[in-house]
């Protein structure tokens, strides 16, 4: 519920990373995402990466958007994952 922005990790330096969004670079803390690697996309919130974005999941979601038109509006597909 807070402003968090997706950015690409360019380089990692101990507990910090240099990230880039739309050509803007910033140094942020990776204390909450120690597993991150260069090339990953992260969500940045108040100077910290709070999560690594899952490219595969993002593609799946976007793919779903594309499929909707193909399948027509009567589809009863459920978007996203169900959580049990």
């Amino acid at each position: 519920m807070c402003l968090a922005v997706p950015a690409r990790v360019l380089a990692i330096d101990a507990q910090e990373a240099e990230v880039e969004i739309g050509g803007v670079k910033r140094r942020i803390s990776i204390a909450l995402t120690p597993q991150v690697r260069a090339g990953d996309y992260v969500l940045i919130h108040t100077g910290f990466a709070i999560n690594v974005l899952d490219e595969a999941e993002a593609q799946e979601t976007l793919q779903l958007f594309a499929e909707i038109e193909a399948l027509g509006t009567q589809a009863s597909e459920e978007p996203g994952d169900e959580v049990h």
């Binding site: 807070c2 922005v5 880039e20 803007v24 670079k25 910033r26």
Partner: protein
């Protein structure tokens, strides 16, 4: 000049003051009207019948004083030249008053002064009179500048925020948000893969070209503090009309967009120092837009909306998703959000 920092004595009117004026200000601004150093600059004005004088003033307190694309000096000249241009005045002369903080480096002051001289030359104006005061350390964040400007408005021109009419086309001279984000990025230590520079520029040449194409432009304004959204609201209020603009039509550079996303800001509220909006009767809009695009400062000029007779005093934005919502004036400082 022996001193490398500004001292209180530089403001006392004595020898050090005169040395400062001579070595820094006259060295860069020197011209026939300024050089006599009388209490006022005196000059003749050739006013054809029906022409009027325009007079404006602005104070500049930007922090930091140096930023990509300019400095407080460039702003001080361009800002006042632009205020004159926005009422259709041909700028003539400027005054410059300096409030210096004790401890300001003379090198910084010289750099700012040189910028002002360059900007004035670009705009075709001269700084013909000035003043210098020095205040104790801590009282003035380095350097504050006030400039005033006088210009001539040709007969027959009637360019004002209260002249806008329903049906007027709204033209924007180019992409928005560069100045505010250049300054803020400098302050917050953001870096860019490509430089994000202030768009600070004198607009009198562009305005002259527009008026030469069609003199019946209703209103001109440069969207400085508060950004495009605030400027549009001011005019909607002054002329008591409605305004509708298209989000998709408003150009925003990618770097500005990204910096705004990062800091939680909206480009529509970010200051510009080298852009203008023009409100033009529909039959004149084609010619004015062509004239803008033919000028270096208007290459990316585009129509962004229309003046309407509904929703008087309000600005409505058609969002990229096709929805319509109110675009309000800036209230308070634009504070970045976390949540």
């Amino acid at each position: 000049m022996p001193a490398d920092v500004i001292l209180l004595a530089h403001g006392s009117g004595g020898r050090l003051s005169h040395e400062l004026i001579r070595e820094v200000f006259l060295a860069h601004f020197g011209n026939a009207l300024l050089n006599p150093q009388d209490d006022s600059a005196v000059f003749p004005i050739d006013l054809p019948a029906g022409a009027r004088l325009a007079l404006t003033t602005d104070s500049y307190v930007v922090r930091p004083i140096f930023f990509p694309g300019g400095d407080i000096g460039t702003l001080a000249v361009c800002g006042t030249v632009n205020d004159l241009a926005m009422v259709g005045a041909r700028p003539l002369h400027l005054s410059a008053g300096f409030i210096l903080e004790e401890g300001l480096s003379v090198q910084d002051l010289t750099r700012v002064t040189a910028s002002m001289a360059r900007a004035a030359a670009d705009a075709g104006v001269a700084i013909v009179t000035g003043d210098t005061k020095v205040v104790e350390r801590g009282s003035a964040d380095g350097l504050f500048i006030n400039t005033a400007g006088v210009g001539v408005v040709a007969p027959g021109l009637s360019i004002s925020g209260s002249n806008v009419k329903p049906g007027d086309v709204i033209l924007l001279s180019g992409p928005i948000g560069a100045h505010g984000m250049a300054v803020l990025s400098q302050r917050e230590g953001l870096q860019f893969s490509f430089p994000l520079c202030s768009d600070c520029a004198p607009l009198n040449g562009l305005v002259a070209a527009m008026l030469a194409a069609k003199p019946n432009i209703h209103c001109l304004r440069d969207p400085t503090r508060g950004g495009l959204a605030t400027t549009l609201n001011e005019i909607a209020g002054q002329s008591h009309v409605g305004i509708e603009v298209d989000e998709v039509a408003i150009p925003v550079p990618e770097g500005v967009r990204a910096a705004c996303e990062l800091l939680g800001l909206d480009p529509l509220y970010v200051a510009n120092e080298g852009k203008l909006v023009a409100f033009v009767p529909p039959e004149a809009s084609g010619a004015v837009l062509l004239a803008m695009r033919a000028h270096p400062l208007g290459r990316e000029a585009t129509a962004i909306g229309l003046v309407t007779a509904e929703g008087l005093g309000r600005v409505v934005l058609r969002t990229a998703l096709g929805a319509r919502r109110v675009l309000d004036m800036l209230s308070g400082a634009q504070l970045p959000r976390i949540c």
